[in-house]
Symmetry: C2
Subunit: 362 residues, 2 copies
Amino acid sequence: MNHAYIVIMAGGIGSRFWPASTAATPKQFLDIAGQGKSLLRMTYERFLPLVPAERILVLTHADYADRVQQELPELPTPNILSEPSRNNTAPSVALAALHLQAIDPKATMLIAPSDHVIEKESAFHALVKDGLEFVRDEQAILTLGMRPSRPDTGYGYIQYNNNNDRLAGNSLMFKVRQFTEKPDLERAKSFIAAGDYLWNAGIFLFSVTTILTAFQEEAPTIYAQLTQDPDIFGTEAEADYIRRVYPDTPNISIDYAIMEKADYIYTLPAQIGWSDLGTWGSVYERSEKDESAVVVQHEGRHLVEDTKRSLLRFPKEKTVLIKGLEDFIVVDTPDALLIYPKSEEQQIKADRQRLLSDENDQ
Amino acid sequence: MNHAYIVIMAGGIGSRFWPASTAATPKQFLDIAGQGKSLLRMTYERFLPLVPAERILVLTHADYADRVQQELPELPTPNILSEPSRNNTAPSVALAALHLQAIDPKATMLIAPSDHVIEKESAFHALVKDGLEFVRDEQAILTLGMRPSRPDTGYGYIQYNNNNDRLAGNSLMFKVRQFTEKPDLERAKSFIAAGDYLWNAGIFLFSVTTILTAFQEEAPTIYAQLTQDPDIFGTEAEADYIRRVYPDTPNISIDYAIMEKADYIYTLPAQIGWSDLGTWGSVYERSEKDESAVVVQHEGRHLVEDTKRSLLRFPKEKTVLIKGLEDFIVVDTPDALLIYPKSEEQQIKADRQRLLSDENDQ
């Protein structure tokens, strides 16, 4: 594990948690899980038992670099890699790999989103250790595949080859047959019935050698754009160079650029209580509830009566008196207030757009 | 009408409109009616067709004097009479009468709360004119009595003598038989059935001579306390003097001190669309509603869907998205949020006390 690095991707601008999340303070910087710390901080701490802070990097948009440092004051400042533009995940991964290669040519890396939660940390740690060992020894791109619990149409699916597995540590890695982007419900149901499909959680493991070879072969434009001056990585001039060359990389996801093309893609099936906390409803489902199945995310003074199966979130300074709500989401911020039926939360995004469009100015 | 003065009482600390009203900004300074102006301002403007600003006075607690001036910038500053302590309405009225007597010994005055609403202003103006004429010519203390529309147990009732009336202008003034404080429901029903009971709205008319004679006879302690230096009223030293002597007056209402004792009490029955806006429910009832019977008090951006029979009030700066509420009161302020079933609003006060007690600190 001495050459293992963790790269946390924290550049997203997730708009699904309005009004709590905003462009200025997106989801990863919020205590969405009600744990007293941000999702980014939770993600960072989840990896600390595996590698020291010196080998954890955070990839983020330049606008958020200060905020990342604020959330993770003990993270060495050079470990925050700033992207000058939002070009999706493929250029991000290439940037991180080129940076790590310069620091440690033997580096293996795990790259993961900053705004998911994992309940079973020790199971996760065991899988990650086996996975890092596997990608150290093999030319393999490994993705953690989550055992699906329902035919969710919001995720990408990974079909794996049950007959083509490799043992590393205590874990079996399976060759990936294909990736399928968000399927319709019928298809999702058939995936669950088939049994050889996993959810793509966006957690990838590889050595820098393997991934940079993959970029050279499968995404040569990105590779060429970022390696105009290959010797600049790891030097003081790297940040300036990135500011100059990064914006012109193609906007494409790592899934499309590499995963769906390369031949040496493996998946490690995981049952680790993973959730991407994609909606208020999933936050509600994952949170500890009181005897009325109510989740209150509030450090301030409140009285909640005759209220059931609801998620209630308020700024710390606010005094709150609530009575008689059932199956609601209430999210209050200094700028906005949302009171919405929990079962209809998919419509919040559209309503918010109606609300914020100029036509609806009141 | 040249000697007619209006005295608006604006010292209350009404706590029933929490979280909108606070000790710092009580009800009379808020736009509770959703009219774009405070109740005090509405009350002031209601009297302007009757008397010029120079003959409108506002009695308030010293803490609110600046706020009154802010709401009524055109009111001459000397017309704001500050009470250094809260000693209930009898000392207030005596203070106003002594002040006016010094300015105009022939003064008649109408004294009224600052936080009520009256829908039928011209009917009100006609009654006030007749009433002021009556109290100018007679030794009479006149109260406007509101024709009751329901057996409300929240008001005081005035029983009048149907056979003892006096004509002034176009109005009949009736001798009062008795005042009854808030009755129970049985009694309130019998009052309505009897037909000779009116609601006491706290609007009184009299000449300064009549009311000061009444104080001398019925409340001599108050009178003596305030007239230790009778020549000081109307001089620049009045305010200092009041600060010194007023706090030691007995704490008693004008109803108990004078109305229930004096012999020359009359009432003028009124049907003027009066409401004391005593609760959020009464504000809801009196407000214009949309097709879903929803009242939205908000100048800012909002989208309210599938919501019925509710009162919704938010700070101007706030963006609001609400769906699926029925029969609710929602009041948001920068400090507090109330979401409460409309039918249970009587319990808000008790809940608020539980919430704000130290035992409930979270």
